[in-house]
């Protein structure tokens, strides 16, 4: 027997059924011995519990009473789905929202500083010679800049220019 049919029998026994539906159940009971057996069992159970069963009177109508319970269940379900704004998870969620823009900004700032200090800034070179010519040689791999001062062949220098270069 289906569960809904069992519930119908219980409602029939409790007198919670409209008249038309009661007649349908009675017709069903007339030909179904299994239904009759279950109804009998339910009656016996009801009789057995009659002593301890409190006869409660609802303060409002039955429909209003159950609709109140239904509304309360819905309210609790809605409350459960709203995130808790006081816990650690709430803070983590908040920070996660800011993580991408803040992380991006931090990386950009570090890259700017790094680039400015080490490689990003163009390695400009300014050479100004008072006399003679100069040749500039830049070896990026070895990290070296050479400025070679090209004066006339050393042993044919005018005396004063030669003296200017006798550094050693």
């Amino acid at each position: 027997m289906k569960f809904e049919s069992q519930l119908q029998l219980q409602a029939y026994l409790d007198g919670e059924m409209p008249e038309a539906q009661r007649r349908e159940v009675e017709a069903w009971l007339a030909w179904d011995p299994e239904a009759r057996a279950l109804l009998n069992e339910l009656r016996q159970t009801d009789a057995a519990l009659a002593v301890g069963d409190c006869d409660l009177k609802l303060p409002e109508s039955r429909e209003f009473y159950w609709s109140k319970i239904q509304r309360e269940i819905r309210r609790l379900e809605t409350a459960d789905s709203v995130p808790d704004r006081s816990g650690v998870w709430h803070w983590l969620t908040l920070w996660r929202r800011w993580l991408v823009p803040v992380g991006g900004l931090a990386i950009l700032t570090v890259a700017l500083i790094w680039g400015a200090w080490f490689s990003g800034r163009p390695n400009s070179l300014e050479v100004v010679l008072t006399s003679g010519n100069g040749t500039t040689y830049r070896d990026q791999a070895r990290g070296m800049t050479l400025v070679w001062l090209s004066f006339p062949a050393e042993n044919r220098f005018p005396e004063d220019e030669l003296d200017a270069l006798l550094f050693y």
Binding site: W117, T145, F167
Partner: protein
């Protein structure tokens, strides 16, 4: 203070710090510790001047990597000094050779070479750690002189 306020303050600090470090003023703020060497390049394995000593191996290797003919490099003089942001440092490298060094704009270093009291030339460029700025020229008997400037360790 709410989370957004804290976050905005952190962002402001990062931005201000970044600007301060990348601005010319920020780059020039620190003192610069430098080392200058006067070096003689020759093909002779021994220097006639007993005061000369072999150049540090690292510098010698880098000089030998240059397309020059000289096989031996001797250190005539080596000076360590510090240049503050607003200072021009004058360093005597030999009786006839002087240099002046100052911190130029945009984190660069300005090196001026002075020979026998006369200004020979000026070089301005950035000088990151481990990089060399080398000025060189011919010297008598087919030898060469070099002034090597780098950040001190």
């Amino acid at each position: 203070m709410n989370a957004r306020g804290i976050l905005l303050k952190c962002l402001a600090c990062v931005a201000v710090g970044g600007l301060a470090l990348t601005s010319p003023a920020g780059l020039r703020a620190a003192d610069l510790k430098l080392e200058a060497q006067l070096i003689w390049g020759t093909n002779e394995s021994r220097s006639p001047n007993p005061k000369h000593k072999a150049v540090q191996a690292e510098i010698a290797k880098r000089l030998k990597d240059l397309p020059f003919k000289w096989s031996h490099y001797f250190e005539v003089n080596r000076q360590r000094f510090t240049v503050s942001a607003a200072e021009t440092k004058r360093v005597q490298m030999s009786d006839e050779c002087e240099i002046t060094v100052r911190q130029a704009e945009d984190g660069q270093v300005e090196l001026v070479l002075i020979g026998k009291g006369r200004r020979v030339g000026k070089v301005v460029q950035r000088l990151p750690r481990h990089e060399l700025l080398v000025l060189g020229g011919n010297a008598p008997n087919f030898t060469a002189w070099f002034v090597v400037l780098r950040q001190a360790d």
